[in-house]
Structure formats: structure tokens, C-alpha cells
Symmetry: D4
Subunit: 214 residues, 8 copies
């Protein structure tokens, strides 16, 4: 076959391989899902556009679509958190939603509890500060921000839990496709921040999960 | 002569030409200062290292040195603000001091009142918030920050006066000589921010002065 | 809801939140506009393509479209300047028009008087110089330029009012999406220039407004 | 004073502020250390060159120097781990040593247990694989690598604990000061990696500490 | 004519000129192929999309399409290796397939024997190691990888044959169109690697062929 | 020998090879000069620092030093223009002097007449305009500028002769070593400009010479 | 009107303003052409796609389309060279044709004689060398090349006339939209080369014309 | 110890580990050499400055210094080629010498025969063409070039052996530390070129050796 699945990964790293949708045909995704579900109760694919799901649903029985997250998955009904702890998920602007939801849904499908706080960017700092107590109680934080990407710096100065920063490609001009928030997050004057790739909500969720299971 | 002084600039733009120190010999600076003082009561040069001043002071009578700002100037004793209004000058970290002082001293030499607030970076947001009222009363703000450069975004969300953002080259690694805070400031999700070149405290002061005289 | 409106912003910063169109559905924009008009007499959205307005007009009563500016807004009939002073708006080429109009219409909707001077780029410097007197009377200047972006430097050397420089993505090849005029403006040998993001006519207008209200 | 210490940070984030050496005079560092030791039993400064320590030791009683880490600190004799868990610290090449030691010593001074594995880069993969079992038992891993920075990807595929990747500026030519390993780490095909700034051993240790205390 | 064919190239460099498809009309490609087949038994064009082939096949008799490789060629039936030695072709992920196949098919059409190993990326290093013996027997290796591009470094540490590294544009965010794996490969800590342009499977095959004929 | 002199170049291109000083020992430069003077009446080396000349003058009889241009040359006494026409040489700021003089002295040593106009940058456009008539009479123009590099655009709009633009590395921050003026000049909205490398006064002079001999 | 035509430009610089097509509606182009033809016998617009011309021809009487050059113009029948001298136009590959033709047609419409040599790239250096004599007789050369852009360096070493180098965006991967050949041309080890913007065939022709009229 | 030597590498890859000098103390280099000579008859270190060798020679018996190559090595007297075939080594300019010699000496120390051709850059193409026959007889070519780096493209079009291209950091301005020739080589229109890192003469020699032993 065209793919060399890594079924041992679940054993080795604690998470199943997840399908990266872009560049794969509907047929290929369906086939990989069929193979994967033999080994795993949760099977998921990211970056699935609505029109891809529209075709995929007829080929893969029991498939669900999380539209805001662009994730398509087969998962048990009434999926419940399997691990203790909560991931706090913050996003700076409404436009960062799809990346933030990619992180949220990935985390939930992997068995973690998530608390969402959307649209709390630094240009109106009172919005963030009004949630200060809730944020301080999270066990790990994922902070999603585009444009100038300043939110993780402010958050990391408020809490004593690890912060995972996700730059997004939301912005224009001198954002250079997310380079601006990426550099912002890497240069944060607040220590305790780990950065993932631009728009990589998925990777942030996996890292948060690994932290919670530590 | 090697320089083509622009004495009309004072008439046209309201500020005298200022000497840019780097790349000029002590002899050249002294000579330009001698010519300039015939036309202006305040004569100043920026980016003057201590060892340059050490030699310059014997050649230029009445010369003063503002060490933290690396500015050398001839100015009337008891220089007083000549314009109404106050420039609020904020800096994020102690390392940004010399750029912030370049802005402060330039503004003072040009006849403006300055209020300084150093070391109020976003990683400890309570420091900034404790000065919130003072900041809100400024007529124009200059915000100096290196590393991730997030301070102007937060400040601009708190006030209704214009904010001039000065990125500094303070930082390392993915700061790329100040590129990171420069991009942060240009992409700010808070509107009402004008950005100047990396480390350009001088230019920020001139712009603030032009705003106050509007 | 998906958005966390910042109604206090008008009180804090003097300007209402404005909707950034790209990436939002017609439905979302209509909904946010409905909420906003409860708090503000002027409601506006930027970067609205004609086909988006074509649908939006049926959902939002009293909506107007400023085509050249790509702005859609609800505004009182016979909107008059509410603040003293005039913003001089210069653009270098005809292709910079939509960014320049974004600045102009934003400023007018926010209550400021605007004087437009289009297509006065530096390759034919006499065009600019013929307006020299008019330009010198403006209280603040917004200068929009793509390609090499040299216009703000020349303008700032002619006047004693603050200059806001807006680089545009107009150009090709080594323009790198507006990077060239952005760097030009940041490195200007004329002091007194504040730069905003590439194509950010909106931000320039807000900054100009804040300067006029100083 | 020139610095605005953030003593509450220990309470808020669980770690004391740490002095960043570059750009500060010996006198300034000594003074900040004197103030800090009133609030904290451990006082530390990073990026301290041997010649700086040589002068500093006479001004700050009880000061120790960790040469490989370029850290200078006042710390209790017989400092013992105060938290459960172990940080596994891997470095790819001998040249990455000072960054890796900055991480190791910071972690130890903050009360964490560290296991060091130096010089296990991917060009001789058997070196890494021979420690596979030891690595799998770590609670969190810090992986330091310059040049092409591939080590974190391989490590993250072997373990189920969180991996903190530290790119270093070790390299030449197309390394562009550490940009190459930074991009490598951000684009890792293995999920579960959080990246910090180039050469930021300190930040990696703080993040690892926050993970262990989760 | 619009093209200046270099028929001597076969004599000079041992390989015929190959048609680069993008930017050429179907008519132009057909015409160049007609001219080329007068001089060469194998005629090939790269980067041919399926819809281009769909039209081309009616104009060029005996034309074949290698879909995964996006190559269209006229070649003898039962094409057999003409040179001794084998090229080992490894790819890191399923998404790198089309670049890897461009290399494989080019090599086969030029008369070389190829062994394919797909989807053996470093995040699951056991996949690569399980083929260790086969890899060590290859005479030259082409290693194709996108995202972080770490595979060639690991491979080059395992073998004593030359390694040709092909970065691909597969990835997103800080991959910057393949810049990330390109830098990774250039900075490899393992010596003995020659790098070709991003996505240049064709060039890698030609280089491998030249090595085998040495 | 270590150098492979290209004596035919004078015949082919009309100019002798010129020695590039950096990275060569005094001994090597002296030796190359000795060889060159056998074939040419003018022998020159660029980028020669004063201390290099100080040693070189004792080894090379008849050697002259043009300090501002950092050029060292053997040339006939009373060197006169050998070609008709005049090269107009403009520079934007005093700091661009050494690059502008490199162009001027190279042109003069190659037999061309030069008219110098220093320090006529765009921030004080009246300085340039006051020389308008003189500039319009030049046969070819070399325009040297650092910082934002806008001068060539303005000049090219004023004249009908070819303009050679030389960006300099003079500037700081977002100048990125001369990248800013380089991009400015390449993107000029005025046509008729040819750009040379950053600080390449030498190359500009050669190109101007070739134009005059056309 | 929306455009501020610069009719004096013809008088000042010797060439009429030329319309830049992209971003203009058919209606706008037609209108500007109507105005321009009142002042000039030749009216031209560049970057006109076939479908734009298809509409434009009905609105602008006497309009011609030069397809390979993507230029649309009104020009006298039997346009003859008006100036002495010949422009040699070389291109490296067939894909560079449209840029090279933009230069050729612009030059011809402006009254210059052009000799075309297509597809003489450096990978088959004998093609170039076979035209050596013809090239040496040109008065000025325009050399168009994409990919690695090496052709101008070789050409400039063969001739004593000025060389105008035009990098094109033809290429892929590490070409970065033409950055690679642009840098190549700027760094040429052969002096006497002036570089224009990526794909700027138009600007090269204007510069060549200005050189020929010198 | 601080280093984790990879003695198996010789067995695995056919070449011993080689010491990278920069960042290591004389003491460290001497110690590693002592250990290495127990396993290998040839021990070598690259990037050794003369002053480092001056100290090293007293600590390491039998140590030789290859000044132009900046290599220090212990090698048998009368080292003879151990492998069939010849590596042709070409360099474009005299300034590229140290990189070219690094390649040459490495290859010779590893047992290969080398033919050197220095200073045959493309600006005087006849120099290269005069060696055409010799070049065509080489089994593999290493081509070293800085500035615009065009030499490998021309060479690869002349021969049917593999070409290894080495960009150097020789150049200035828009060379950006060797980025320009690196991009040139990666984008070569001639196939059959493998590129190594900027200034990586060592890596080129190892690759050439691996090709010769294929
Ligand atoms: N610190 C500074 N940053 C930016 N521009 C400056 C600074 N100091 C002086 N200048 C500008 O540099 C110009 C003088 O340059 P120069 O003629 O080289 O001395 C003045 O017109 C100032 O506008
Ligand atoms: N897939 C490819 N990647 C890189 N170069 C190619 C590819 N296919 C063809 N070429 C080269 O492109 C040249 C042909 O370009 P053209 O004359 O535009 O068809 C040939 O000499 C090949 O060396
Ligand atoms: N200032 C300069 N800028 C650019 N190129 C130069 C300069 N001076 C000399 N050259 C060129 O460098 C070449 C000599 O290099 P080299 O053989 O290293 O001395 C000559 O052919 C000149 O074309
Ligand atoms: N193909 C082209 N490349 C570069 N500049 C051009 C081109 N075509 C027209 N121009 C320039 O663009 C200007 C017209 O721009 P616009 O006013 O937007 O039509 C003219 O003054 C020309 O100098
Ligand atoms: Mg919002
Ligand atoms: Mg602080
Ligand atoms: Mg125009
Ligand atoms: Mg090692
Ligand atoms: Mg896979
Ligand atoms: Mg000046
Ligand atoms: Mg061709
Ligand atoms: Mg030479």
C-alpha cells in the first residue's frame, strides 16, 4: 500500500497516528481509516474540509464531523475524559477559532477535559483578567493567537502551569503567514512557554496530553 | 565641506537637524556642532559613546553628556518644557533603557515634558496596570520594547491617546536583531499605533513632538 | 456566541470595535452588526468584497457600501465632521487607491474631515510639489504608497505635522508583498514618521484620529 | 532604581526572577543580587562570562560559578531535588554543551533532578538507541541540538513524555544563527514537542519544571 | 521555433534534455516531443498534470503516463535497467510520494534499477531500522523528506554510499514552502550528503545516475 | 601562482581587472600589482584600509591612496578624462561618502569625467531641486543612497539619462545591512534605473563607463 | 478622475507614461488610453491578459495585441526604429519568453531596434558561444534569466557594452519567486551589470533606450 | 568525558570522525586527537587557525598544518592515493581558496587523488573552457564558488560526471553570507548537481569520496 502505518506508536507514545488530510484523496483517507479502526477505538483525521467530509461520510460508517475544528473522527458515543486534569484553551481572536478548535477536539478525542475561553486578546486586557482565577486553576494551558501573538506572554506571567503557544496564520501584511506571532512567542520575556508550528492546534493538544499524563 | 546642512529644516519641520554620531570622526562632529550652534540654541548628537564624548568635550565648549541616552548636547541651563502636554515614556525591560532614554532626552531637549515608566513589561502585567491611571492621562505615549515587543498592544488597548511603538534590538536567537518586536508591533491587534525603526528612540521623540504641536 | 465583543473599547480608546471581514461568513457579520448597533450609532466592517455586500445588504437594514474602500457601514445620513482639524490623505499611485480609501472612509465615519490627494508619487515630484501649500496646512498626514514607498520620506521633509506612513502590497517581484515599501518607510531619513502594517489604511485612520483628538 | 523587580513572580509563577547578564555592568548585577537575596534563598544570573564572574565574586558573598553553564548563583550548600520526577537532558553534539548545561544547572538550582546524556546526535543513531530505556523512563525531556536539529524528532518518536526542543546557534553557513534547527523543530513530524528560543536553555528548564509540578 | 533544443546534451552529459511541463501549452509539448523522438529512444516530460496528459495522448503516439510521478513519456516496451548498481529511494511520508516517484520514474526511464522504500520517516525510527540491511546494500541513496527533513541525516549515518537529499514542499506554517527541510539537509551533521532543490526529484535521479556511471 | 589574472579582459570588456582588497595579504596585493603594471598603465585595488596602504606603499613604487574612496592605485600624473561625456554622481547622506567616492575615483581612474553632488537626500528635497539643471545635463547618473534609498526614484523622474542606483549598508535596524535601500531601488516606480549590489560603487562606475562608451 | 496622468514625463524623461494593467478594470484602461492618445502617437499597456484584450479591443479603436509580450498598444502601422543602435536581447530558457518579449516589444514601440536570441542558457554554454560575434556587436544588452540567473555574468564577461540583467520568477522551490536569480545578478563577479526588478522586462527596455540615447 | 566519540563511524560510513575546531579549546582538541589516533592512522581537525596550531603542535606529536586549508592533521609520511579515480576541484575566485583547499586536503588525507584548478570563474569563461578536456576526464567534480556562484551550472553542462557544488561566504552586500551562491546552485538549470552547506569544503570531499568508492 501507499502508507506505512505506525500501529506501535500508540504503545510507544500513548497516542494513535492521526491522518493528515491535505493532499490525500477521499478514497485514501477512507482506506486508512478502515485499517486504523481495527487497532484503535478512536480514529481521526485533521484538516478535513466540509466538502471532503460530505463524500467521506458515505464511505466510513460512524464518522462524525467537527466543523469548527475541521476534524472528522470515529469515536465512541458519550466520550468522557479518561485522564485527570484540565487543559485551559485560550484564543486571542474570533478568527483563530478553527485552530483553537482543532486543539480542543483533538484533546477531547484523546481523552482529556478542556475548558475553552475564546476571544480574550490583549488589546482588551480586562477580558483576560476577568478570567484570571479560572485560568490559574488549569493544569496546562494552550494559548492560540495570530496577528501579533502577544497573548501567551501575558498568560504565562499570570500562572504557574506550563503554557503551550500556538501561532496562527491569521493576519495580513507583515504577519508573513504567521511568522510574526511565531517570533513573538519564541521571544517571550515570560519563561515557561513551549511553542508549536503555525496553526498546529493538533500538536499543541498532543503535547498538552503528554504533560497531563506526566 | 563634507556635509550639506539643512538649516531650513527647523523652519520647515519645526526641529533642527540632529547629528547622527556613528561613522563620523570626533573632528567632524565638533565641526558640525560649531556650525549648527550659529543657527540654533540647542545642538545635539545621538549615538555618542562615552569615549567619543571624552574627546569631544575639549573641542566643543558647553557640551553636556547624557550617558544613559548616549546623547551629547549643548543646551541652555535649566531647560524647561516649551510646549503644553506630556509624553508618557514606557519601557518593557531594563535592557531597553538606552533606547528609551534616547527618546526621553531628545524630547526634553526639543522642549517637551516627559514622564518615564521603566521596566513595566507584559510578563508581570500588574506592574503596568498599577500605573494605569497615570498612563491614561498622558497626551501621547512612546512604548519601547525588545524581545517579543508585546507592550504597545496592551498599552494601546488601555488608552485613547496615540501610541508610538519602538522595537529594540534587545533579545537573542529568533529576535533576529529586533525583527521579532518590529513585526509584533506592526501586527498589533490594537489600532492607533505608529511604529518607528528598531532602536529609533530619536525618531519616536520627534514624532511625539510633532503630535503634541498639532 | 463565537465573538466576545469589547463594548467598553469605545469608552476606553474613543473608537468602537470595527469588524474585520475576511474569514467571517455573511451570517456572522450580520449578527455582529446587529449586536453592535445597539451600542453605537456608527457600525462598520472593513475588507468587504462587493459580492459579500450584495448578500449582506438584505440582512442588515440601512447598510451602505463604500466600494473603493471595501467598507460596509451603517451610518447617520449627512455624516458631518465632529472634530476640528483635517487629515491630509496622499497616495502615490492609482493602484494604492483601495488602501487609501479605506483610510479615508474610516476617518470620515469616525467623525474626521479628510482632504484626498491621489496619485502624487515621487517619480513625478512636481505633482507633489504643486500641492505643497495645501499639504503644509494639514494637521496630520496619512501617506499611502506601494512599490518603493518613497513618498512619506519626501512629504515628511516638507511639513511640520506628524506623518503616518502606510505601505501597500501593490508591486511585484522584489516588492515581496509590501515588504519593500515597509522597510523604506521604517528606514526613512526624515524623522517624524509612524508606520502601520502593510495595507492597513484602517489603522492609519484610527491613529490619525487619536492624534487629532490629542 | 533602574530595575523594577517582580518579587511577586515567585508567588505567581513558582519561580523567582532570574538575572539576564548581557548588557548589565558588574555593579548592576551585584546590586540586583543583593536585593534579590532578601526575598529568595536561590539567586541566579545567566550568560555570565568568566571575566564577569571574576569581578562579581568579590562583590557578592557566597557566589558560585557554573562554568560550562555560564551561570553564577548563590545557592544553599548541598542543594537537593525538591520535586519528584526527573528531567532527561539530551544534547546532540559537544558544541551544544553550554546551552545544555544552562538548562541543567537552572533546573537543578530550581530544585529538579536532572539526568544528562551528551553527544547523542542522529548521525550516529546507535548512540541514542543504546540509551533508549533510560530515556523512556524520564518524566520530561529537554533535547538540545544545533546544526540541523533533528534529534528532538527522533526522541519524540521513542517516548510518551513531553519533549522540549532547544535549537542552538551552533553551526555555520545555512544555519543562519540557529534558524535551521529552529525550523526543523517547529516542523517536526513527531507531535508532542514544544520549542523554545534559540540557545534558550534557561527557558527550557523553567518549562520542564512547570511540567513536573503539574 | 520558440525552443532551442540542446541535442548534443545527450552526448555531452549522458542524458537527453527533458521537457519541463509547467507554463507550456499542450501544443508546445507535443511539438517538442515530436522533435526529440527523432534523436532519442526515450522522450519524457515532467510535472504533467492528469488533464494535460488527457489531451496530450491524442497528439503524441505511444505516450505513457506515470500518474504518481506526474511524468509523461515515450519509452520502449519492457524497459530494462541498462547500468549496473541500484538506487535506493527512501521517502519520509506518504505526502512526499509524488516527488519520490518523479525521482524513481526518471531513474528508471534513464536506465537505472530502483528500490523504493516509502514512509520511513524518523518519527518512527524502527521503520527505517528494520530496512537497515537493504539500505546498506544500495549503491547510491536518494532520500526524500518534507516537514522537518531529518531523514537524510539519519540515513547518512547508517551507510557508506553517497546520499542525495531532496527536500519537499510538504508541510505548512514554518515550513515556508520547503525552506525548513532544505536548511535541515544543508546543515546535516552527517557528511556525505548532496542536496538538490525543493521538490526536485528529477534532478536527484540525474545526479544518482551520474554517480552510478562514474 | 594563487591568482589566475585575466589580462584579456581589458581587450574583451574595455576595463582592466581590478584587485579586490579584502582577504588578501599586503604581500599578495603587491605581487598582483607588480604583474598587472606590466600590462596596464593604470593599476588599482579597492577596499584598501589606511593601515594596509601604510604597508603597501613601501612595496609598490608610485602608489597613491584615495582615502575617502579606500582605493589605492598607480596612475599617470595629471590623469585626464579620455572619453567624452560626464557622469553625475549624487549621494543622499554624508555617511554614504565612501561608497560614492569609490565610484567617483574608479570612474576617474578609468578615464571618465565626474561631477560630484553630495548630501542631497530626499528628506530635504529642495537641496536636490536646486541642482536640477546641472543634473539634467549629465550623460549618465550614479545615485548612491543608504537608509531608505529613495533618492534614485526622485532623480529618475527628473531626467532622461540612465540612472545607476547604488544602495549602501548605511543605516541600522530594519535596514538589514542595506536590504532596505536595495529593495527600494529595485521597486522604483520610475523606470530607467539599473541597480548594483549594496556598497558596490566600483561596479556602478564600470557600468557608467560602459554606457558612456556606447 | 482616479488617475493623475503625468504628460510632462515624455518631455522630462523622453518616454511616455505606460499603463500598468493589473488591478485596473477594462473600463479604466480604455479611458486612460483615450486620454493618452491625445498626447502621444504610441499608447501602450503592459501585463494585459488575452481575456482583457478580448474586451478592450472593442472599446479602443486601432488597438493591437502582442500576445507573447502581454502588451496591448496603439501604434503607427509600419513602426520603424527611430534611434541608431541595436539592443541585443538574450533569454536563458523558453519559459522566460514572456518577460523577454515584454522588453522587446516595449523597446520596439519606443523606437529602438532589437535583436532577439532566445534559449541560450548557461547549461549548454556552446549555444551562447556560437552567437558570440553577434552579441559583441550589440550596443547594449538585455539578458533575461530565471532559475539560477547565471547568464548575465557570462555575457558581461564577453562584451564591452552595458548589460541590463532581468531576473524572472521562472523556477520553483528555492527560487523563492525570483529571489535566487535576483541575488545572482546583484552579486555578479563581472562588473558592468545593472539589475532591474524581477520580471521587469518593461523597465529593462526603458533603461536600454535611455542608454542608447545617451 | 565531554565528547562521545563515534569510532564505529569509520566502519559504518567508511570515514573516521573528524574534529570540528571552532568552539573547542586547544586542550580539548589535543585530548580528542590523542584518543582518535588509537583507532585511526589519519587524525584530522578542520577550521584550525594558525594561532591554534601554534599551540597545538607542542601537545600533539607528529602534527602537520595545511595552512591554506586551515586543517591540522597527523598523517603518514608520503601519503598516497588509495582509491582509483580523480576528484577535479575547481574554484571561481582567489578568495574561495581556503574552502577549496579544505576540500582538497580532506580528500587527499582520506586517500583520494585531486586535481586542482583555481580561479576559473565565469566572468572570464575562456579560462574554464581552456581546461575543458581535463575537466571532462575527472570522475567527480567539486566546484567552489562565492559571489553569484554560477560556475557549477556551467561546469555541469560540460561534463557527464557528478558535480558537487560548494557555495562560499565570499562576497558582500546582497550575498548575505553566502545565501546568494547557495540559491544559485540549488536552482541550477543544469541537472546532476548536489549542493553542500556554505563553506563546507570538508563535506564536499567526503561526498566525493563516497561517490568514488561506489
Ligand atoms: N538616533 C537617531 N536615529 C535616527 N535618526 C537620527 C538619529 N540621530 C540623528 N538622526 C537623523 O540623522 C540626520 C543626520 O544625519 P547626518 O547628516 O549623517 O549627521 C538628521 O537629520 C536626523 O534626522
Ligand atoms: N522536474 C524537473 N525538475 C527540475 N528540472 C527539470 C525537470 N524537468 C525538466 N527539467 C529541466 O528543465 C530543462 C528543460 O526546460 P525547458 O527548456 O523549459 O523545457 C531540462 O534541461 C531539464 O534539465
Ligand atoms: N569594490 C569592488 N566591488 C566589486 N567588485 C570588485 C571591486 N573591486 C574589484 N572587484 C572585482 O573583483 C575582481 C577581482 O577579484 P580578485 O581576483 O579576488 O582580486 C575583479 O575582476 C573586479 O571585477
Ligand atoms: N510592466 C511594467 N513593469 C514595471 N513598471 C511598469 C510596467 N508597465 C508600466 N509601468 C509603470 O507603471 C506606471 C503606471 O502605473 P499606473 O499609474 O498604476 O498605471 C508607469 O509610469 C510605468 O512607469
Ligand atoms: Mg475581537
Ligand atoms: Mg525586569
Ligand atoms: Mg501613475
Ligand atoms: Mg560528536
Ligand atoms: Mg506516516
Ligand atoms: Mg545630512
Ligand atoms: Mg531549454
Ligand atoms: Mg580573479
Amino acid at each position: 500500500g501507499f502508507a506505512h502505518l505506525d500501529h506501535h506508536r500508540a504503545l510507544r507514545t500513548g497516542f494513535p497516528e492521526v491522518i493528515w488530510g491535505p493532499g490525500k484523496t477521499v478514497e485514501q483517507i477512507a482506506q486508512i481509516m478502515a485499517t486504523m479502526r481495527l487497532h484503535s477505538s478512536v480514529v481521526m483525521a485533521t484538516r478535513i474540509e466540509p466538502q471532503v467530509y460530505a463524500q467521506l461520510q458515505y464511505r466510513v460508517p460512524g464518522l462524525h464531523y467537527y466543523q469548527a475544528a475541521r476534524i472528522s473522527a470515529i469515536a465512541p458515543v458519550n466520550l468522557q475524559p479518561q485522564y485527570p486534569g484540565t487543559i485551559g484553551l485560550l484564543s486571542a481572536g474570533t478568527a483563530d477559532l478553527s485552530v483553537a478548535e482543532e486543539a480542543a477536539v483533538t484533546a477531547e478525542l484523546c481523552g482529556f477535559r478542556v475548558m475553552r475561553l475564546w476571544d480574550v486578546g490583549v488589546a482588551g486586557i480586562h477580558r483576560l483578567l476577568s478570567y484570571r482565577q479560572a485560568i490559574a486553576q488549569m493544569d496546562v494551558l494552550i494559548v492560540v493567537a495570530g496577528m501579533e501573538g502577544a497573548l501567551p506572554s501575558v498568560v504565562a506571567g499570570l500562572v504557574d502551569s506550563p503554557v503551550i503557544a500556538v501561532p496562527t496564520s491569521i493576519g495580513y501584511g507583515a504577519s508573513f503567514g504567521g511568522l510574526a506571532p511565531l517570533l513573538t512567542m519564541l521571544n517571550s520575556c515570560a519563561a515557561g512557554i513551549g511553542v508549536v508550528n503555525i496553526d498546529n492546534g493538533f500538536g499543541a493538544a498532543i503535547l498538552a496530553g503528554q504533560i497531563l499524563r506526566t
